[in-house]
């Protein structure tokens, strides 16, 4: 994920320049670099420990809107996984659901407001469907990422109601939301992580 944020740093910042303040890429990159360092130092036991460490890094290093939102998401996901070692498809779906709940609560956002939620909510639905249909963990993530990509693309047509882009009102229409896009990129990076 850190590599993905490194790779897409300028792209995300570019998206943020159009309707925000041109720092989303830098913010995410800084956060995931910090997470990487924390993980390299810590050698965590369980997936939940990894998520918790990432959450702490994001909360304490990112700032802006993305820091507390993604930080909360990773923390909540860690919460539902408890001490589990190997994660099942259902575990993954539940973790994504908890993450979404955390973000919605913290950000007081709903679908259709041109935020992270617009990528994560469809991702959660797709993950749940894949898990319920007996898909593998890899399939769960892959369908979540695919749905997030579509969700992020769908933000182009939306008018922002939350976050910095909301100040633009109708002028926010026609641009893809940086946060929704970074959500897709993170899920996509997770898929690649499993594959590679």
């Amino acid at each position: 994920m850190a590599a993905a944020m490194e790779e897409h740093r300028r792209y995300l910042t570019q998206l943020d320049a159009a309707i925000g303040d041109a720092d989303h890429g830098t913010n995410m990159h800084r956060g995931f670099q910090a997470a990487l360092e924390r993980l390299n130092g810590a050698d965590p036991d369980t997936p939940a420990d990894v998520l918790k460490a990432v959450s702490m890094a994001l909360i304490s290093k990112v700032g802006g809107a993305a820091g507390p939102l993604y930080g909360t998401a990773f923390l909540r996901a860690a919460g539902v996984l408890g001490g589990k070692g190997e994660l099942s498809a259902a575990d993954l779906a539940a973790a994504l659901e908890a993450a979404l709940e955390g973000i919605k609560q913290r950000g007081r956002a709903e679908e259709g407001q041109k935020t992270i939620v617009d990528a994560l909510a469809p991702a959660v639905r797709a993950a749940r469907e894949a898990a319920d249909g007996g898909g593998s963990p890899e399939e769960v993530l892959r369908s979540a990422a695919e749905a997030a990509r579509k969700g992020a693309e769908a933000t182009v047509e939306m008018e922002a109601k939350k976050g910095r882009a909301s100040y633009l009102g109708k002028r926010s229409i026609g641009h893809q939301d940086p946060g929704a896009t970074s959500t897709y990129l993170l899920l996509d990076a997770a898929v690649r992580g499993l594959e590679g």
Partner: protein
């Protein structure tokens, strides 16, 4: 990139260190947290005021730390809200036992991070509360959206709530007057140029040589309208009409006026704008109590300015006039 800096990633700590070195009588720098606190913090028994936000708005907020205003300022990366960790460090450093009050500008990032900091502080037994400042009338107000931005009007909250805390008000009292200031303050700005965040190295937006942006945010957020540059008086007319046309009736009582430069605009132009603003206010029956012309809340080297009106009551007047000692702008 035309900047007097070393490495872009060092601008925040270097400038904070510079402020401490320049004003050791006023400021102490906590390098681990990128926080400036009053040199004499904590002040026993006083409600402590903490503000902060992304860097790039200097002299806000570190320049307003000192007796009679803020107890601490947390500096994020340029245009990026600081993190809850920093805010918690600041909170612990300034808590004098009477609670800590956060002055937060209404940006999702600032609000969320200060909220988390408040939760963390409360878990450590420090009472906290906050006000969210949203004075920018360029943005449409609505409870369904993020609402309005906080811009230069925030400085009046620092001053008046700061004086109230110095005067011995308790946390609830400080919150009440901070909210009262926010309810009576309205601002709007415009820009002629973009600024260049150091890490980005290029302007946030392109704007033609004969164009201006009305209703610009202080982070380079696009404004409400892009159009051909007009004479100063027309620009002032437009901003003033929006501010006066909002829901505060500025013809009642007296008002404080601020003409705030965004960083790249010479003092000369701010006074040219003020000259016409004073005429407009007079014509509209607005009585000016005091006025403030200068750089209070900037946006790096952006050329442009904002105007702010605050309707005062007697208590606010007293606190506005109360002495304070801060680094911002003082010549001697």
């Amino acid at each position: 990139m035309k900047k007097i800096i070393n490495a872009p990633e060092d601008v925040v700590p270097e400038q904070l260190r510079g402020m401490e070195l320049a004003r050791p009588d006023l400021l102490r720098y906590m390098p681990e947290a990128n926080v400036l606190v009053r040199a004499d913090a904590p002040v026993e028994g006083k409600v402590a005021l903490v503000s902060g936000g992304g860097s790039g708005h200097e002299p806000a907020h570190g320049g307003f730390v000192g007796p009679g205003m803020l107890d601490a300022a947390c500096a994020g990366a340029v245009f990026t809200s600081p993190t809850p960790d920093q805010m918690l460090e600041a909170t612990k450093a300034v808590d004098g036992g009477a609670g800590v009050f956060y002055v937060v500008k209404n940006y999702t990032g600032d609000v969320l991070n200060f909220e988390m900091a408040g939760e963390l502080a409360q878990a450590e037994g420090i009472e906290t509360d906050y006000v969210v400042v949203d004075d920018d009338v360029a943005v449409e107000d609505s409870t369904y959206t993020s609402g309005r931005r906080g811009i230069a009007g925030t400085i009046f909250v620092h001053k008046i709530a700061g004086a109230a805390a110095e005067d011995g008000k308790d946390l609830a009292g400080v919150k009440e007057i901070a909210q009262r200031v926010n309810a009576n303050v309205r601002s709007m700005g415009m820009a002629l140029t973009s600024c260049i965040p150091p890490e980005r190295g290029e302007p946030i937006f392109e704007i033609a040589d004969d164009e201006m942006e009305i209703g610009m945010g202080i982070h380079g957020e696009p404004g409400t309208e892009r159009k051909k540059i007009e004479p100063a008086n027309s620009v002032v007319d437009e901003l003033a009409a929006k501010v006066l046309g909002d829901d505060v009736d500025f013809t009642q009582g007296e008002v404080a006026v601020m003409v705030n430069g965004l960083g790249g605009t010479p003092v000369m132009e701010l006074y040219i704008a003020y000259a016409h603003l004073a005429d407009v206010l007079k014509r509209e029956g607005v009585n000016v109590y005091r006025s403030f012309v200068g750089e209070y809340m900037t946006s790096l080297e952006m050329a442009g300015f904002s105007i702010t009106l605050l309707r005062l009551d007697d208590e606010m007047k007293g606190y506005l006039d109360a002495p304070c000692r801060v680094a911002a702008g003082r010549p001697f």
